[in-house]
Amino acid sequence: MSDADAFEHDDAAYVMGLLSGAERVAFETHLKSCSDCAERVCNLSSTTEALAVLTAEALLALDESGDEPMPQSLLPGLLRRAGIRQRRQRRFTTGVSALAAASLVSLTVAVWPSGQPAAAARPVALSAVATTPLHATAALSEVRWGTRISLDCSYPDYLPQGTKRAFGLTVVAKDGTRQLLGTWTVAAGAHTRFTSGTSLPQTAIRSVQITRSDGVAVLSLNL
């Protein structure tokens, strides 16, 4: 334990290559027996990769430039736009329900022209809720036992060779409960099809999410 304490602060210096030869060897020996330090080193490596997009000049400029204050007009403009949007939304909602009532039959025909059941759902793209290179579409279909979810996701091939990430498919019910429907791994350039399901009827689902291994959602589809 005291061994871990002695090395606790060395992770960043190691990752950035600041340690002397002897220090580096000692730290690497320590890493073999300390999973905490190994994990921190792994995390910090990607942080230094993020730094690689900048230069010393950019960092220096940051110190010199003070933050410009927000313009005074921002809040009044925001409130005005909110008012306009709310009014437009009200009009739109009234218009849509009138239209729906007037053409319920033709609308049904228009949506399923071939007479197929609602189950033949079209895939819909999930939108990013965190920065991620992952792309996915989901097709939800109502089945006797609940809802089937077919997922189609891809990881771009410009990512470094060997990049692999584990993801989970989570549904959030309208009552706020969450269900993890399965996990899978995607590699750079790969295309993964994944089908799973839930006992929840489609009407009880609030959103379908793709989550990272730490549970944070990266893509989401609100129903």
Partner: protein, 173 residues
């Protein structure tokens, strides 16, 4: 145009959003747009409006900031892609290929810049000496006039703080 009144609860929520997230978003978006204040004002307003329209994203404070940054970023990138405004590029490639990549790079850089802004001056200084100027622990210690142990602990806290800030903004680090 006649003023359109919104309910006092909505106004209160928008004002709170503006006060809490406005300054950080403003700083981030002006950076992305190379100081175009008019466009930045529009993007920040649009971002806050979307948050007001999707109150469920505000339920979890630890995730809401990431959501806001992501939305702001999307608005700016979609605009670039639509050809309305583009980041400065010099390229001989077809625009359909070059623009998205450059846009993503500009966005990544700005996200890291905004994250660095949240660090203390001391932390930025130690990153400058070590990472950007490539000094060893001993050299950085001499340059900054502190013991070598302090360089190690400062780089440790600086890099972990940077990682937390980038994640907080919805980035990956």
């Amino acid at each position: 145009m006649t003023a359109v009144a919104i309910g006092s609860r909505d106004a209160q929520l928008l004002r709170a959003l503006h006060d809490e997230h406005g300054p950080a978003l403003w700083s981030y978006v002006t950076g992305l747009l190379h100081g175009d204040r008019v466009r930045a004002e529009d993007v920040v307003q649009e971002t806050l409006l979307r948050a007001w329209r999707n109150p469920h994203v505000l339920a979890d404070p630890s995730a809401s900031r990431g959501w806001l940054y992501t939305v702001a970023r999307r608005i700016v990138i979609d605009d670039w892609r639509a050809g309305r405004r583009r980041p400065e590029t010099i390229t001989d490639q077809l625009p359909e290929q070059a623009v998205p990549d450059t846009a993503e790079q500009t966005v990544d850089r700005q996200l890291v810049m905004s994250a660095l802004k949240t660090l203390s001056r001391e932390h930025r200084e130690v990153l400058l000496e070590s990472y950007f100027r490539g000094r060893s622990v001993a050299e950085a210690a001499q340059a900054l006039g502190v013991p070598p142990g302090t360089i190690k602990s400062r780089t440790h806290y600086a890099l972990h703080a940077l990682r937390a800030a980038i994640t907080d903004m919805g980035g990956a680090a």
